[in-house]
């Protein structure tokens, strides 16, 4: 009782909001268990990736962010009313867009690209917020537009702007990977929202046709990364380096791996970005095929759970939000792992819950909180799957 009053005092309680007890009863503990398993596995890998005790600070920092993120996740899922999100989606989107603009005009240059915004001692990437912002804005838009299963141009121009504005800004940073990710996630939302199959085909054709245009606007290093994907051995010490070394790390892990903290590739600096984008290869080297299959299985089940939540959501906003969030999570997993094992170009996409990095961790947990939130509320109408 006290808790509900407290929530009501914050003005976040809606008329249809569920009690805490009901929420806990409906809570998707299996999904939480999956996420926790991935995060803990991730922390263990990170411990090795940062070089054990040598950079233990990084490890504790990541652990702290995980705890804070989880607290945030529980707070959102247990206390925030359903209507709150719908009310502030455009605001959230707008703030994210403004922050992106701010970065474009005067962000901090890190790793050769403008991605960061520094607020006091707090640094974060607005593009991370935008990943969620786009999903919420699109879901809200389609929800408001009413129900149709054959979306035409009349319904699509606004979503196109909602997607392309942030995508353009992110691509300009330049962060092509995140830009494409945001675009793809937006595409998935539109697809689920009911883009006509003709539209799907047309969209794929346009995507294919724009390839050369995109190529001609790519930075040299981006072109090299794509070219490198097909023949990394051509420039083993240059652009092909990441892929070659990463493949060696993954392959040398074999079936059973070299053992925790025993990966030579990981511990001898052969692997670049090994605690961030390439952390999967540390797992692969030290835990072998068994380890990679375990993590892939956990991710697969999580994504599957996401699609199920989406299909069970009680309204359009819930369905589309859950779809977008699941797509966001899933695409990141597939692209990151694909990059590490050499079937995708090297793009700066982190591995959800495992890669070191505060913004990424927070975004993923926020996304998962929203997903859980959708799930809890779907059961309100007895449509639980």
């Amino acid at each position: 009782m006290i808790r509900t009053n407290w929530a009501a005092m914050l003005g976040i309680a809606g008329d249809d909001r569920l009690g805490l007890g009901e929420r806990l009863r409906r809570y998707p503990w299996s999904l939480v268990a999956l996420l926790l398993s991935i995060a803990i596995l991730g922390l263990i890998i990170l411990y090795s990736a940062v070089g054990g005790r040598e950079n233990i600070d990084l490890f504790w920092g990541q652990g702290l962010r995980l705890v804070v993120g989880l607290l945030l996740l529980f707070a959102i899922t247990l206390f925030v009313g359903e209507k709150l999100f719908r009310r502030y989606t455009y605001l959230f989107y707008g703030i994210s867009l403004l922050l992106l603009l701010a970065v474009a005009m005067g962000g901090t240059v890190g790793m050769g690209a403008r991605r960061w915004l520094v607020l006091g001692s707090f640094r974060f990437q607005p593009s991370e917020l935008m990943k969620v912002g786009v999903i919420l804005a699109l879901a809200r838009y389609f929800h408001d537009r009413g129900v149709t299963t054959q979306l035409g141009w009349k319904e699509l121009w606004m979503p196109a702007i909602l997607i392309m504005a942030p995508v353009g800004l992110i691509a300009k940073q330049p962060d092509l990977g995140t830009a494409l990710l945001v675009a793809a996630v937006g595409g998935v939302v539109i697809f689920v929202a009911g883009l006509s199959w003709r539209g799907v085909v047309a969209g794929l054709v346009v995507l294919g046709a724009s390839g050369p245009l995109v190529w001609s606007n790519l930075h040299d290093y981006q072109r090299r990364r794509v070219a490198t994907l097909f023949s990394p051995e051509q420039d083993p010490l240059g652009s092909g380096y990441h892929i070659i070394q990463s493949k060696i790390a993954v392959g040398s892990g074999g079936v059973f791996g070299k053992g925790f903290l025993e990966g030579s590739q990981s511990h001898l600096d052969f692997l670049p970005e090994r605690h961030t984008d390439f952390i999967f290869s540390v797992l692969a080297e030290e835990w072998g095929f068994l380890g990679t299959m375990l993590l892939i299985l956990l991710y697969g089940l999580t994504i599957l759970r996401g699609w199920i939540i989406a299909s069970a959501a009680h309204d359009r906003f819930g369905i589309l939000t859950a779809s977008g969030l699941t797509a966001l999570f899933g695409i990141q997993v597939v692209v990151n792992v694909g990059m590490v094992i050499g079937i995708f170009p090297v793009v700066g996409i982190p591995l959800p819950l495992v890669s070191y990095g505060g913004s990424s961790m927070m975004t993923v947990l926020l996304a998962m909180a929203l997903l859980i939130h959708v799930d809890i509320h779907s059961k309100q109408h007895g449509r639980a799957v």
Binding site: G146, V147, T148, T149, V188, F191, V192, A193, G194, Y241, Q245, K247, I248, A249, V250, G251, S252, G253, G254, V255, S264, Q265, L268, D269, F270, L271, P272, A284, E285, G288, F289, T292, M293, I296, Y299, G300, I303, L304, W307, A310, S311, D315, R316, I319, S323, T326, A327, G330, V334, V337, G338, I341, G342, I343
Partner: protein
């Protein structure tokens, strides 16, 4: 209506989510498949790649063994070379540091710029060579201030050095950068490109021993090539010192005696087979190859007609001329076809097969016994001997004295010489042996070829009573004594008859080798003059080609001393030197003098040089022996 629409949407979206679920399944399957390929199927391959990534093997050079003379003196040494290097990333501004270093080590602005240029193509944590071969002053100037030059280090390398310069350079050899043929020659050595390897002489012959075993540092490195730590270390096995049988004083004397004439001297201990001196002139300075020889210098060495790089003592093959007569005499005695006191008449020439075979003494020597024939080097006498015994016997006895085959000294440059035979001629020319060729062979002309080392070994075998040893340059615990190749095949009495003749060559009134007489003991020897060009002779006996110095005859002399207890055997050749008695014998005398004076403690031996019969009997004018052939 709305509820229906909503259900319609739900149905459609569920279908689409199913599509997405299917795509998810495909993607995950693709990742799993790829991981299966990389980790399970190709795991071994990548495991090897990772191992190679991890460890870099760094060779640690072993100090090369020194080469010593028989007294233990150093002939070939290693001297440290100091190089100045800078690690760019520690230098705090490479250009500035170099300009600060410049006054101390004499760096020009050009050199500074070239070092800076070089630094761009090299990783910044690796030492960058700034200057090699620092002088002692430069070294000490930098060393005392080393702490004010960040990233600067002095590196020490061992440089091969030949402190005596050209002394015995052909024996010692020289080093050069390893070539593919060197790699084939020493399959057990793991050469690195740029390694120095023995190219000639003992440096080559004992390459594996001198080189020792290279050590290895197994360094763990990161992807940038920066060394993380040392995993393992195998210390190098230093090369072994090599002690030679070379007597440095004797070597020096032999080279000095030849002077700037082209030729060779080999001195041996007839009792052991140890080579005491092996000189070949002109020589070269092996240090040149270490300090970096310019193309011009190298070409000059290669194209010099006097062949300074050739070790004439073992590579030079010369017609032995009259020095070969002792082989013929021995063969005739052994075959029982010669009574040493038998008088054989020489009227200056011999007619055979419509050809006139001349004696060098066109007037003729008159009646000669063996001793006289040897001492006066009568050609007709030996023509007749050769007719009696034939080429087969000459060949056999030549082999017993070590001619016509490698002596086994061990230097790869060594030539085998040539003793012709019927079989050889059949092989070589597909022709039969002519009796006239036997006659020419008997005076060491025609096809016969021998190296100075073979001639020294031949005279050593005669001196020591018929024991042919394998000559050696390597000292062992028996003072360089080597195994016996032939022994007991030659009648000792016959050998002593030959030795008497050889003694008469030097000490006889009409001997051709009188200029080899020593004050320190009696010498036995044999002169030789070998024709370079087989020119026809005018009626007065003078060679038609006498005007061209390169067509001048080679002068030879072989000898041993003291006669009673031979301690040194020597052969001398002076290319285009003219007559053996006048040119080669004095060279031998200088070496023998030095050796015998040391043996006798400087005490002169009576009855060796005076009275000189040549002086009392003025009628027998010296020009006679000077013309022997």
């Amino acid at each position: 209506m709305l509820e229906n629409d909503h259900d319609l949407f739900r149905g459609e979206s569920r279908r689409r989510l199913l599509v997405l679920g299917g795509l998810t399944g495909l993607s995950v399957a693709a990742l799993a498949g790829r991981l299966f390929h990389l980790q399970v199927l190709k795991g071994g391959t990548y495991h090897d790649l990772a191992e190679n990534n991890r460890i870099s093997l760094e060779p640690i050079a072993a100090p090369r063994g020194r080469i010593l003379d028989r007294t233990g003196g150093v002939l070939v040494d290693n001297t440290p070379e100091y190089r100045l290097s800078v690690i760019p990333e520690l230098s705090g501004g490479l250009g500035r540091l170099l300009r600060r270093l410049a006054p101390y080590v004499d760096l020009s602005e050009e050199e500074i710029l070239s070092v800076i240029k070089k630094s761009r193509s090299q990783r910044r944590f690796l030492p960058l060579k700034v200057k090699s071969r620092l002088t002692w002053e430069e070294l000490s100037r930098v060393q005392v201030r080393i702490h004010s030059f960040p990233g600067t280090e002095i590196q020490t390398y061992n440089l091969r050095s030949y402190p005596n310069g050209t002394l015995a350079s052909h024996v010692l050899g020289y080093l050069g950068e390893v070539s593919s043929s060197d790699k084939n020659a020493f399959p057990t050595i793991n050469f690195r490109s740029g390694d120095l390897v023995g190219k000639a002489g003992m440096e080559r012959q004992f390459e594996p021993l001198l080189r020792g075993g290279e050590g290895v540092r197994e360094m763990e490195v990161n992807a940038l090539g920066r060394q993380v730590r040392e995993l393992n270390r195998t210390d190098p096995r230093p090369g072994m010192d090599l002690r030679l049988t070379i007597d440095p004083e004797l070597q020096r004397e032999a080279e000095a005696a030849l002077g700037d004439r082209v030729g060779a001297v080999v001195a041996m201990d007839p009792k052991t087979g140890a080579v005491l001196a092996m000189a070949s002139q002109p020589s070269f300075d092996p240090n040149m190859f270490i300090q970096g020889i310019s193309r011009k210098e190298w070409n000059a060495l290669l194209t010099d007609k006097r062949r300074p790089l050739t070790n004439k003592a073992i590579q030079g093959q010369y017609p032995p001329g009259s020095t070969f007569k002792m082989v013929v005499a021995l063969a005739a005695l052994d075959d029982g076809k010669l009574n040493p006191s038998e008088g054989i008449y020489c009227n200056g020439s011999l007619n055979r097969q419509n050809h006139r075979f001349y004696c060098w003494q066109h007037r003729g020597h008159g009646r000669m016994d063996l001793k006289q024939a040897i001492s006066q080097s009568c050609d007709v006498y030996f023509y007749k001997m050769a007719e009696r015994i034939g080429i087969d016997s000459i060949e056999r006895h030549a082999h017993l004295l070590g001619l016509g085959k490698l002596t086994g000294l061990g230097l790869r440059e060594e030539a085998a010489g040539l003793i012709p035979s019927r079989a050889w001629k059949r092989r070589r020319f597909n022709a039969g042996w002519f009796p006239g060729e036997t006659l020419i062979t008997a005076i060491g002309q025609g096809y016969v070829l021998a190296t100075p080392l073979q001639l020294a070994n031949m005279i050593a075998t005669i001196a020591n009573g018929g024991t042919l040893r394998r000559p050696t340059l390597v000292w062992n615990d028996k003072g360089g004594q080597t195994e016996i190749v032939e022994h007991g095949q030659i009648n000792r009495h016959h050998l002593s008859l030959i030795r008497e003749g050889l003694e008469e060559v030097v000490h006889g009134a009409r001997g051709t080798g009188r200029k080899a007489r020593s004050e320190f003991g009696r010498v036995a020897g044999k002169t030789g003059t070998s024709q370079v060009v087989r020119g026809k002779r005018a009626a007065d006996g003078k060679a038609l080609n006498a005007s061209n110095p390169l067509y001048q005859d080679h002068a030879l002399f072989v000898a041993f001393a003291p006669v009673d207890d031979p301690a040194i055997a020597i052969s001398v050749i002076v290319e285009n030197g003219g007559h053996g008695g006048s040119t080669a014998a004095p060279v031998a005398k200088r070496v023998i003098d030095l050796y015998l004076s040391r043996l006798s403690g400087g005490v002169k031996v009576a009855g060796t040089t005076n009275p000189d019969p040549g002086n009392t009997t003025k009628r027998q004018a010296p020009p006679q022996e000077e013309q022997e052939e």
